[in-house]
Symmetry: C2
Subunit: 345 residues, 2 copies
C-alpha cells in the first residue's frame, strides 16, 4: 500500500466509543488517530472528501441491519465521495473520484474495489451532490417514488422526514410526476421551506397536538402512497388514512433508531389494514433498480439544473464535527443531506 | 317480487344476536324466520344452496373490514352458491346458478344483479366446489401465490392456516409451481393430512412449545414467501425468518378476529425488517386479477381433476348448523372449506 505523498499518512477517524444508552450523545463517539488502513489485494484505498451523517449509522449502533451491529472501537460507517489513492490494476486508477456506501468517518478507508463506483462527472453541480442527489439518498427518493410506489399524477403522496436527505428528494420527485405532496416534519421552519421553496402542497408538524387530525385534513381523499422514513407511531397514524390499493414505501424507521433497543411493538392495525385496504408495503434497495440508474440520474440532473428540484444540503466542516452532526440529525436539527467535509478535493 | 312456488315463502336466517365478547359462541347467533326479502329493481333474489362459514364474517363482528361492522339483528354475511329466483330483465334468468360474495346465512338473499357471477359449469366436480376451489377461497389461494407472491420454483413458501379453506389451496398451488412448501396448523392430525395427502414438504404445529425453533429448522434457507392467513404473533415469528426480497401475502388475520377488540399492537420488527430485508408485504383482492380468472380456474380444474390438487371441504347440514360451524372454525376444529348446505339444488 502506498499513500499519495501529498497527504499525511496519519488517519483521523471517528469510532464508536460506547453503545448509546438512549438518544445518541457526543460521548458515544471518539475521534482518534490511527494508521492508514492496509489495503487488501482486491481493495482500493480511498481518501475521503465528503462523508454522510446518516440514520443508518445510528441504526447500526442499535442492532444488525443490512450489516452486523456496530461494535465499540469500529469506525462509524458512512457513504463517502472519495479519491482513489491506490488499488488493484483492474480497479479505478489513482486520482479517480468515486463513491461508495462502505466508507466511514475517516480520512482513509480501504474497501473492495467492486464496492466503489466512479462518479458520473457529466452530472452537474457541486461535488457533494454525488453524496446527496446523485448518491444513495437521491436515488432512494427517486426509486422509492417512481419504482416502488409507482406514483401517478393526481395521487396524494405523504412523505415523513420530508426535509431529510431522502425525504426532500422523494417529495419533489412525487410532485414532478404530478402528485399532490404532503410533507411531515417536526418543525414549522422546515415546513415553511417545503411549502415555499420545494413545492409541497401541504405540510404537517408531527409535534402538533392535533397531528393526526391535521394529517387527515391534509389528505381528504386518503393517502395513495406513503413514503415512510420514520416508522414507529407515525406509521400507525398513517395506516388508517391509506386509500385502497395504497402503497407504503418502507425507507427508514428513524423514530426507532435513537433508543437503546428497537420498540417491542409494531404499529397497531397491521396487518389488518393491509388486508382490508389491499395495501402494498415494501422495502427496497436502490441496487434493485441499477439498470435504471443512468436514466434516473439524468432526470435528477435536469430537474436540479432546471430549477424544478431544490437540493438541500447541510455540510459540516471536518471529522471533528461529525459526532455533533449525528446528535443534531437524530434530534431533528438538520435539513436535507447531512454530511461532513473530510478533506479538500 | 315473486318466489318460485316450489319453495316456501318463509325465510330462515341466522342473525347476529349479540356482539361476541371474546371467542365467538353459539349464543351470539339466533336462527329466526323472516319474510323473504324484497328485491330492488336492480337486484336478484337468490335461493341459497351453499353458504360459506368464513373468518371474514367473524372479523365483521369485531369492526369494519371491507364492509361496515356487522350489527345485532343483521344476517351473517357469507359467500354463497345460489339459484336465481327472480331478477331484472337484463340479469341472469331464473334458474341460473350463480355465486356471490354478498350472500348470507339465509334461505333467500337479495343482492345487486351486478354482484353475482354465473357459475362456470364447464368446471368439473361437485357443486360446492364453486364455493371452495372455484370460489373466493380457491382464487385467493391461487392469486396470492401466483399473482402476489409470484412464487418461483425452488423457493421456500410458508403457509399459515395451511389446512384452511384458502391455505390448503395456496400451499398446493405453491407446490405445483415448484416451491418447497411448509405448512403451519394447530393440529398434528391436520399436519399429517398436509404432508401425506397434500404434498407439503414439512409442517409445524403452532401450539408446540418449540414452534419458533421448529419453523426455523423447517426453513433452513429462510422464507421466500409467507402466505399469511392468521396475522398476530405468528407474523411476528415469521418476519425475522424472511429471506431478502421475501414476500408476505396478507390474506387474513384470523388470530386477531376472535376477540372483543383488535390487538393494540402490531408485530415487533415491523417496519424495520421490511426495510433491511427489502420485503414486499401485500394485501389484495381476487378482483385485482379478474382478467386472469378464467385461466386460473382452468388450471385449478385440471389440477383437481388430475389428482394433483386435493380439495378439502367440510360441509355441514342446514342453517341450524352454521353457528356451531363458526365456533368450530374459530377454534380450529374444521379442515378445508367450511360451508353449510342451505338447500337442495
Amino acid at each position: 500500500m502506498s499513500v499519495n505523498p501529498d497527504h499525511p499518512a496519519a488517519n483521523h477517524q471517528v469510532v464508536l466509543a460506547r453503545r448509546p444508552a438512549g438518544p445518541v450523545a457526543l460521548d458515544d463517539f471518539r475521534l482518534e488517530t490511527a494508521p492508514v488502513p492496509s489495503r487488501g489485494a482486491d481493495e482500493v484505498l480511498l481518501r475521503n472528501i465528503f462523508a454522510s451523517v446518516s440514520p443508518a449509522a445510528r441504526a447500526a449502533m442499535q442492532g444488525p441491519t443490512y450489516r452486523p451491529q456496530l461494535t465499540e472501537g469500529e469506525v462509524i460507517p458512512a457513504g463517502v465521495v472519495a479519491e482513489v489513492v491506490a488499488g488493484p490494476p483492474a480497479g479505478p486508477p489513482p486520482g479517480t473520484l468515486v463513491a461508495t456506501l462502505f466508507g466511514g468517518w475517516a480520512n482513509y478507508t480501504a474497501v473492495p474495489a467492486t464496492a466503489v463506483r466512479e462518479l458520473p462527472l457529466d452530472l452537474r453541480g457541486p461535488l457533494v451532490r454525488h453524496l446527496s442527489l446523485y448518491g444513495l439518498n437521491g436515488l432512494t427518493g427517486y426509486f422509492g417514488v417512481v419504482g416502488v410506489a409507482r406514483v401517478r399524477a393526481e395521487e396524494t403522496v405523504v412523505v415523513s422526514g420530508a426535509a431529510g436527505g431522502v425525504g426532500h428528494v422523494a417529495g419533489q420527485v412525487a410532485r414532478l410526476v404530478g402528485a399532490r405532496v404532503v410533507g411531515i416534519t417536526g418543525s414549522d421552519r422546515k415546513n415553511a421551506v417545503l411549502e415555499k421553496e420545494l413545492g409541497f402542497a401541504a405540510t404537517v408538524n408531527r409535534h402538533s397536538d392535533s397531528f393526526g387530525d391535521d394529517l387527515r385534513a391534509a389528505c381528504p381523499d386518503g393517502v395513495d402512497a406513503y413514503f415512510d422514513t420514520v416508522g414507529g407511531p407515525m406509521l400507525e397514524t398513517v395506516l388508517p388514512l391509506m386509500a385502497g390499493h395504497g402503497r407504503v414505501v418502507c425507507c427508514g424507521a428513524t423514530a426507532q433508531y435513537d433508543a437503546d433497543q428497537p420498540p417491542d411493538r409494531g404499529p397497531r392495525g397491521f396487518p389488518l389494514l393491509a388486508i382490508v385496504k389491499s395495501l402494498r408495503i415494501e422495502g427496497f434497495l436502490v441496487h434493485d433498480f441499477q439498470a435504471d440508474w443512468s436514466e434516473a440520474l439524468t432526470r435528477l440532473d435536469q430537474w436540479a439544473e432546471g430549477g424544478q428540484l431544490t437540493v438541500l444540503e447541510d455540510v459540516r466542516d471536518g471529522l471533528g464535527s461529525a459526532a455533533a452532526a449525528m446528535v443534531d440529525l437524530m434530534a431533528g436539527n438538520s435539513t436535507g443531506q447531512l454530511a461532513v467535509r473530510v478533506a479538500g478535493l
